[in-house]
């Protein structure tokens, strides 16, 4: 037996409207991505990507989304992601776009990348701090972020989907 190979696409939802956060949920993101694939690649592309396509992990607070699809069709998925223009939930739609951060073969590599990425973001925040209070806050979260990584390194399981918050 050979295992089915998947690709995990890590992206972030970017929106100018802060109210968009509340409509970041599994179903809305999945539907928006499916809609974009159907529009760009037609019935054939949609059918290819639909095999084992799911929203694996979603963090509405940071706007991070982890999508899964088969290895054969991840190019179709990635090329359709820029065509996602809005998220719709509870009869409200907000314009937004998806920014692809990383494409990985396992959830673990995506998680490692996300931790590294968030730490870099925190460093950038630290540089742009204006007052002492902010600086202390960011430094504190930087320290906690490295602690989180040590914990998850020590207690790592093979290819498990535990979403770890890094901030």
């Amino acid at each position: 037996m050979v295992r089915f190979k998947n690709r995990y696409v890590l992206c972030e939802v970017v929106s100018e409207d802060p109210r968009c956060r509340q409509c970041i949920e599994d179903r809305a993101v999945g539907l928006a991505v499916r809609d974009a694939i159907g529009r760009v690649h037609g019935d054939f592309g949609l059918a290819c990507c639909s095999i084992s396509f799911t929203v694996k992990y979603l963090n509405a607070y940071t706007g991070t989304v982890l999508l899964r699809c088969r290895k054969d069709s991840y190019r179709l998925l990635c090329s359709a992601l820029p065509f996602v223009r809005q998220l719709e939930s509870r009869n409200q739609r907000y314009p937004c776009f998806l920014n692809t951060l990383h494409v990985g073969g396992t959830i673990r590599t995506c998680q490692k990348f996300l931790i590294e990425y968030n730490r870099r973001q925190l460093l950038m925040l630290l540089q742009s701090c204006t007052n002492e209070e902010e600086r202390r806050c960011v430094q504190k979260s930087l320290l906690s972020c490295s602690l989180t990584e040590e914990q998850c390194l020590s207690g790592n399981e093979d290819d498990d989907d535990d979403g770890t918050d890094t901030d």
Binding site: G38, R39, V40, H41, G42, D43, F44, G45, S79
Partner: protein, 129 residues
């Protein structure tokens, strides 16, 4: 080598070999429609092909460079030219097209070749004695 040279000298034709893949592929297709219906003109025919591509392969498919080289409205047959990378997409889209103006229709792909000259004759239509 010498043998082929001799043969080349003896025969009056010249043989040319194209080693790289051709840039385009050509398809001879026939549209089958039920009797007594409206027949598409050239523009509507092209529109039909593009709509078939768009249905199956989306906007990416509809953007494929496809040309209608000749179209005969009487026999509903046409010669299409498509870039080689899009041949499979075009062929599959034509095969899966089922309706023209809400009536049944079908595309028959009669011949396909990377060379336009190959469509000049069809060995399947030869009448052999």
């Amino acid at each position: 080598m010498a043998l082929s040279e001799q043969a080349g000298a003896a025969a009056s034709f010249e043989r040319r070999v194209l080693r790289s893949a051709g840039e385009h592929h050509y398809l001879r297709v026939r549209l089958e429609l039920p009797d007594g219906g409206a027949r598409p003109n050239v523009a509507q025919f092209k529109q039909l092909v593009v709509s078939a591509l768009k249905e199956l392969h989306g906007e990416v498919g509809a953007a494929l460079p496809v040309d209608v080289l000749t179209y005969e409205e009487k026999t509903l047959s046409a010669i299409l030219r498509v870039v080689s990378s899009g041949l499979v997409k075009l062929w599959s889209a034509l095969t899966l097209l089922g309706f023209y103006q809400n009536r049944r229709c079908a595309f028959r792909v009669l011949q396909t070749s990377p060379f336009l000259l190959a469509l000049a004759g069809n060995s399947r239509e030869l009448v052999l004695d």
